[in-house]
């Protein structure tokens, strides 16, 4: 008898079916992967199990008993714990307050000291040192994740759901997480591991259930899987090539030169310290680092969106240090921003309006302040065709497109301006394999045409595959610039964690 059994689970949101007749069977003590692309319904299914959503149809059995999980409270009582992709911790509260928040056995007047003792003991058992009295906002991302797991264990979770747990971790932290997962299963806990990273599934999981468009495609034992490609083709539904091919770089003149760039944030803390590098035509410089180590600020500085405190930068030998974004763009700079919804597009405007955001005031888009819609229509149609954007029409609201198509038109808009410098930040974040490969190959194409490319990503695989050189950032500083051929995951991982004495 399986430990957890979900049978025929269906969940609809208004008109969208997120899960359709999904059946899942998990054995006690195993690590069971839930694999699928974005929007395949992995998180929805787990949110149903955790009582966040009510299923429209279907049954859930735990230890052979039929259960109806109507809220999270009940899920917790049944021994289910979930670590969400976006942590459910309250930064302004202390660690111990977060741990005991909402516990049923809490008395009217809280005794935090006893709870802290119990928590410390538990943390020690899993080799984790977390001060129960510090505020959560002072913890690193890795610590927060461990706290989330401990929080679930404190509630006596037997079944632990980890939703994309490695997305925010450095390679070293991933190793630590996997050790913990192994320890948990050896103690009889069961783990459901949601991911779309194939290598991780191959490493840590016993079995894997693959979801595609809300339906179960297959459940396979990981040891029977030959290679990553096999899992990938199950996930996507067709054969996929996981490697983007590229030829040797032919490096040209220096396009971007950054000298001792320093910047501070709103709280007056330094976010960039003496960042220096140069970028040449025809090469891809990958910027590597855990999210929030200054990559985003660096790009904002170079594109005129963040004030530079000291230092300079030059585009094609012209100093642009204090230029406005508009002036920077005039130097043939294209920018695929980090968050397409907030910076890359305007959801409530249609595609063609989005496509002219940068050039509406230039010929032939407009003349004397009057837009030439006829020409814009024609031009927009062309971009949609060239960049393979699937949309009912160019008058469609940008927000109605899928993430992949949104990113494609952002990429299309930027590359259409025939840039000399392309700054791409997380270009494939949140995209499925097909769209990711498409966008990556476009970036490589652009490099082969002689564009200088600055590629910021948190995905090591992407960086290793596309970059010619890789610059590692840690706490706003450049830890080192490594040639792609010499770079290994381990080496980059150490630099990402701020370790230099290697």
């Amino acid at each position: 008898m399986a430990f957890l059994e979900m049978k025929g689970v269906t969940k609809c949101f208004k008109s969208v079916t997120a899960n359709c007749d999904v059946s899942l069977s998990v054995e006690k003590g195993e690590v069971h992967a839930l694999l699928g692309e974005n929007g395949a319904g992995k998180s929805t299914l787990m949110n149903i199990l955790y009582g966040m959503y009510d299923q429209s149809e279907g049954e859930i059995f735990l230890n052979g008993n039929k259960v109806h999980i109507k809220d999270t409270k009940q899920a917790i009582e049944l021994g289910i714990g979930m670590v969400h992709q976006h942590f459910m911790l309250i930064p302004a509260l202390t660690v111990i307050e977060n741990v005991i928040l909402g516990l049923k056995e809490n008395k009217m007047v809280l005794d935090l000291n006893i709870a802290a003792e119990k928590f410390k003991e538990m943390a020690k058992k899993y080799n984790m040192e977390i001060d129960p009295w510090t505020r959560v906002e002072n913890l690193s991302v890795g610590q927060q994740q461990r706290l989330e797991i401990l929080k679930a264990l404190y509630r006596n979770a037997e079944l632990l759901i980890l939703d994309e747990p490695t997305a925010v971790l450095t390679p070293q932290e991933v190793v630590g997480l996997f050790d913990m997962v192994r320890k948990l299963t050896s103690e009889g806990h069961t783990v459901i591991f949601i991911s779309h990273k194939l290598a991780e599934i191959m490493e840590i999981c016993d079995r894997c259930t693959i979801l595609r468009q809300g339906r179960v495609v297959a459940t396979v034992a990981v040891k029977d899987v030959k290679n990553r490609e096999e899992l990938a083709s199950l996930m996507v539904g067709k054969n996929v090539e996981l490697v983007t091919r590229k030829k040797e770089a032919t490096v040209g003149e220096e396009i971007l030169k950054v000298e001792k760039l320093c910047a501070i944030n709103q709280d007056k803390h330094p976010v960039l310290t003496d960042v220096t590098f140069s970028l040449h035509a025809g090469e891809i410089l990958g910027i590597c680092g855990v999210d929030g180590n200054g990559q985003s600020e660096m790009v904002k500085c170079i594109t005129g969106l963040h004030k530079i405190k000291s230092g300079k930068y030059f585009i094609k030998s012209v100093e642009c240090t204090h230029d406005t974004p508009k002036k920077v763009l005039k130097h043939k700079v294209a920018h695929i921003p980090e968050d397409r919804h907030r910076m890359g597009m305007i959801k409530n405007m249609n595609i063609e309006e989005n496509l002219i955001l940068m050039c509406y005031d230039q010929l032939p888009f407009s003349r004397h302040g009057i837009l030439n819609w006829k020409w814009i229509d024609k031009h927009s149609e062309e971009i949609c065709k060239t960049y393979n954007i699937k949309t009912p029409s160019i008058k469609e609201m940008a927000g109605n497109l899928s993430g992949g198509n949104q990113q494609k038109f952002v990429v299309g808009r930027e590359l259409d301006r025939d840039p000399d410098l392309l700054i791409a930040v997380h270009p494939s974040r949140g995209l499925d394999i097909g769209a990711t490969k498409y966008i990556q190959s476009r970036i490589v194409e652009e490099r082969d045409k002689g564009t200088a490319v600055l590629l910021v990503s948190t995905e090591l695989d992407e960086l290793l595959e596309l970059s010619d050189r890789i610059l590692v950032m840690y706490r706003g500083k450049v830890m080192g610039i490594v040639d792609q051929k010499a770079a290994t995951r381990e080496y980059l991982g150490k630099l990402m964690a701020g370790i230099t004495d290697i």
């Binding site: 949101f13 955790y50 966040m52 959503y53 809220d71 999270t72 409270k73 009940q74 899920a75 917790i76 979930m82 969400h84 942590f87 459910m88 911790l89 309250i90 930064p91 302004a92 509260l93 307050e97 005991i100 928040l101 909402g102 516990l103 049923k104 809490n106 008395k107 009217m108 007047v109 809280l110 929080k151 509630r155």
Partner: protein
């Protein structure tokens, strides 16, 4: 001179009391993520209902209970719109203020007519605390006040304790910071927020009743005169803590107390300028206060599961 200080302190404490009571209620709702801009209106309703209750029953206690019951009812309506319907808090709060202004004017004229003679009602009397009230200078100011004044100041440490040391306080603070996280640990976010709004309504009712039956002894139209808004300002100025709110209320109250003194002192300044004083102090204080470390992250954001 000493007498002057004593009477100024006494007057400050009295004028600070309604602001303090309302602001203590607001600390709880604000911490839970709700900006109850309708406090002004609720206080106004409380002021009138207190007088009606006291007049009909002959007891100020009954008056206060009526005031609280009615404002809690209106808070429930407010809570329904902003928590369940997820309407904009500012819009609904403003609606409550406008509604309260019209309602109290109408009811006042229906119940009491447009006569100039004021019926005598039972009000909050001063209760001198034995021994303590005999302390020189401060005794008279601190320990010869009416019951709501004592309650308000005792509620400061009590409020701190509830907020920081109890389960419900932890839940309240958590709900205002990250409601979704609360949902994942099984806390009923909506229920917690309802409780917070109802408590702030209770306090607004008591504050209103104190304005009409503690500071004065009858109802006049628009008599709350911005004290609800000053309470909102006190919460921000006091950095969302009961103790901070107490100092803010005392500061704003001092403005009002000073204004009375200056009017009486015949300084030659037109009284219209003097009346501005408490509001001016409030505005300046709020502008100076830029550090809002305790402001909840999910302030004024409605919560829904999906």
């Amino acid at each position: 001179m000493i007498d002057g200080i004593t009477s100024f302190l006494a007057s400050d404490i009295r004028t600070a009391t309604p602001i303090l009571i309302a602001a203590l209620g607001l600390v709880f709702s604000e911490r839970a993520g709700i900006v109850n801009i309708g406090t002004e209106g609720l206080m106004l309703i409380g002021a009138l209902m207190g007088v009606i209750g006291s007049l009909l029953s002959g007891s100020v206690l009954v008056g206060a209970i009526v005031a609280i019951a009615v404002t809690m009812f209106f808070s429930l309506v407010f809570a329904f719109f902003i928590i369940t319907v997820r309407a904009d808090q500012t819009v609904v709060g403003t609606a409550i203020n406008i509604f309260a202004s019209g309602l109290t004017i109408t009811l006042n004229r229906v119940v009491f007519g447009v006569s100039t003679s004021v019926p005598k009602i039972d009000v909050f009397d001063r209760v001198a605390i034995p021994v303590l009230s005999k302390i020189p200078v401060i005794g008279e100011a601190f320990f010869n006040q009416s019951i709501p004044v004592y309650l308000a100041f005792l509620a400061v440490p009590a409020g701190w304790f509830v907020l920081q040391k109890t389960n419900i306080g932890l839940k309240l603070r958590a709900v205002g910071e990250h409601p979704k996280a609360c949902d994942t640990v099984g806390i009923n976010v909506l229920k917690t927020r309802y409780q917070a709004v109802l408590f702030s309504g209770l306090m607004a009712g008591l504050a209103g009743a104190f304005v009409s039956m503690g500071q004065l002894s009858f109802f006049t139209e628009g008599m709350v005169a911005g004290r609800g808004f000053m309470a909102l300002a006190a919460v921000v100025f006091g950095n969302y803590t009961p103790v901070g709110v107490m100092f803010a209320a005392l500061l704003f109250g001092a403005g009002e107390a000073l204004q009375y003194r200056l009017q009486a002192a015949n300084t030659g300044i037109p009284y219209q300028f003097l009346v501005m004083l408490p509001y001016l102090i409030t505005v300046v204080a709020i502008c100076m206060m830029t550090r809002r470390s305790n402001k909840p992250a999910a302030s004024a954001v409605p919560y829904s599961k999906e």
